[in-house]
């Protein structure tokens, strides 16, 4: 029991520090709060691994992961380019574009709405572990098949959100368009899409992380000898857990960056939405 004391002490200390910092709402303190939160987790992890002598082949300590990260930067960079830049990003862009176009088609035609949406639900629910082998069979071993998996994975969440968003314009705003006899394209560009943006970005944000998962996991089903998924599965086989976690660290950093960029664009694009304006009370 007493062995848990340092863990509890660190935890409470960090909690208090953050609560105090959060009262000063500046850019610097916001960053600090997030970093302290993360640092706390890492310290707790390190302490737990050391105090309870967890075998490194089960869970390596952050210090070991850091060392492995530093020692393998070249490999990590190659894998990052292969999996994230080529696989995830390409797939996400294609998937998002396809989903938005489909959402517009669905929104335009009630026929398609009734016909495509249920089937869209269905396609989206195809589990990635089932599609990945098939897509690897169809699109080959390289990043193209990973991008295809990502396309399938991100499509549905973006579709659902965009369809909801296109329905979000309020009646008076639509009536206005009607009184101007705005052609479909105009009301799409100038009303429906802007009003859909908060929802669309909801979908885009959720899928940033799905894209990474998809690209990495698809590599488990066949890949060239590089890529994060490849490295993770082979490193597990060699029990090189620090390398596995270093790859996971890269994935987490890349994912947070990706998400952050999308969130930033969201802020710029949907500045007018109440959730983006300063909150009162």
């Amino acid at each position: 029991m007493t062995s848990a004391l340092p863990i509890i002490a660190v935890w409470l200390g960090a909690l208090a520090l953050n609560a105090w910092l959060a009262r000063y709402d500046t850019r610097a303190t916001r960053l600090a709060v997030a970093l302290i939160f993360g640092a706390t987790i890492l310290v707790l992890w390190e302490l737990a691994v050391r105090i309870y002598a967890v075998p490194p082949v089960i869970l390596p300590a952050p210090s070991r992961i850091g060392a492995s990260f530093a020692a393998n930067t070249a490999i990590l960079w190659t894998d990052f380019v292969q999996t994230i830049l080529k696989g995830a990003l390409t797939g996400w862009l294609i998937g998002a574009a396809a989903a938005v176009l489909t959402a517009i088609a669905i929104d335009r035609s009630p026929f398609l709405q009734r016909g495509l949406l249920p089937i869209g639900n269905f396609v989206a629910a195809l589990p990635i572990v089932g599609i990945a082998p098939i897509l690897v069979m169809w699109f080959g071993f390289d990043w193209q098949s990973k991008a295809a998996v990502v396309v399938v994975m991100v499509f549905f969440p973006i579709l659902v959100n965009t369809v909801a968003g296109l329905a979000a314009a309020d009646p008076m705003q639509r009536d206005l368009m009607a009184t101007w006899a705005a052609p479909y394209r105009a009301s799409l560009w100038k009303l429906r899409l802007p009003a859909a943006m908060p929802f669309l970005f909801n979908g885009l944000k959720i899928t940033t992380t799905l894209a990474l998962i998809g690209a990495i996991v698809a590599e488990f089903f066949g890949s060239p000898t590089k890529g994060m998924g490849f490295r993770i599965s082979t490193a597990v086989g060699r029990l090189d857990l620090p390398l596995v976690w270093a790859e996971i660290l890269v994935a987490a950093l890349a994912g947070s960056l990706f998400y952050g960029i999308v969130a930033l664009i969201e802020k710029k694009v949907t500045f007018w939405h109440p959730s983006q304006r300063r909150q009162r009370g």
């Binding site: 303190t29 939160f37 009630p110 398609l112 989206a124 629910a125 089932g130 969440p157 996991v217 959730s275």
Partner: protein, 299 residues
């Protein structure tokens, strides 16, 4: 849109299954075409190896009846599904119903845990500045951890702690499904406009009251959109969790064992079973959504 909705109500065929049927037919047609096209190289190769000459009819017939096609034809998948669902006692290990049930129970458990966690975190984020600033980046980071990589570790660690069966799978499912709920709810809970919040403020409503009477109701459209994504994610999580669980039971195990042996028809049947399951779940949430919104006068 109002016009479209009006047309729609006026035309009874649109309310029925006609659109779904049409789109479905189109898909099946494309699918058959693709099956012939994708399986043809193999059939031609085989013919060349056997040094026989193929007529167009032979080619077509053979591409649609291969035992391990690149892309199975719709009727092959349908037969596989029928065989898996109706051709077995539902307690049989070859029954898709049995495997489906195992997957479903873990999915629902994971979905419940994930949704609760997502909502709880979102509530925390909206109400607590320290959480607002610290949780989100790490929630994002948590989702970028490739689950397929850590799922075996989760299973192994939990198994060594004596936890096996449904719970480890449910936890992986929850891991994947809490995130869409979190993102959607944070947005949804922040949706009320300034005037609505000001009113609450002028009544000195407590945070709980603002939450239950304003934030929660106005977040529902976002919540339901997220729940649909989350339940699909939970299913994926469960299936992923079923792989390293020793690939013994559940649709995930079915999928994978189909993969080992290149049993495309079995893979596709399991895939469809999973997708049907998910589609049904998503539709249930959709129905719940309509019901709730109608009761709230919003639909």
């Amino acid at each position: 849109m109002t016009e479209a909705a009006a047309d729609d109500g006026a035309n009874p065929t649109l309310r029925g299954g006609l659109p779904v049927l049409t789109v479905l037919l189109a898909i099946v047609a494309v699918w058959y075409g693709a099956a012939i096209w994708m399986n043809a190289p193999w059939v031609r190769d085989q013919a060349a190896r056997a040094e026989t000459v193929l007529t167009a009819g032979d080619l077509m017939r053979q591409t649609l009846t291969l035992e391990r096609p690149v892309l199975p034809a719709p009727h092959q998948v349908a037969a596989g599904l029928w065989e898996g669902v109706a051709g077995q006692k539902i307690t049989s290990k070859r029954s898709l119903v049995w495997h489906g049930w195992i997957t479903l129970s873990a999915t629902l458990a994971g979905f419940a845990i994930g949704t609760l966690a997502g909502i709880a975190l979102a509530v925390g984020i909206v109400h607590n500045r320290a959480m607002d600033q610290s949780v989100m980046p790490w929630a994002v980071a948590s989702q970028t951890v490739p689950i397929l990589a850590i799922a075996p570790m989760v299973i192994v660690v939990m198994a060594s702690a004596g936890i096996t069966g449904l719970l480890p799978k449910a936890i992986i499912a929850a891991w994947l499904s809490f995130f869409p709920v979190l993102v959607g709810m944070v947005k949804g809970l922040r949706t009320p406009d300034a005037m609505q919040l000001d009113l609450m403020h002028s009544w000195n409503a407590s945070r709980a009251q603002v939450f239950w009477r304003l934030r929660m109701p106005s977040s529902l459209p976002f919540l339901f959109a997220s729940l649909k994504v989350a339940i699909a994610a939970a299913l994926v999580g469960t299936i992923v969790g079923e792989l390293p669980a020793g690939a013994t039971a559940g649709l995930g195990a079915r999928l994978l064992s189909g993969s080992y042996y290149g049993q495309t028809v079995q893979i596709w049947s399991a895939l469809f079973a999973a997708a049907i399951l998910a589609a049904v779940l998503v539709m249930l949430i959709g129905a719940l959504e309509r019901l709730t919104l109608r009761r709230m006068g919003l639909a």
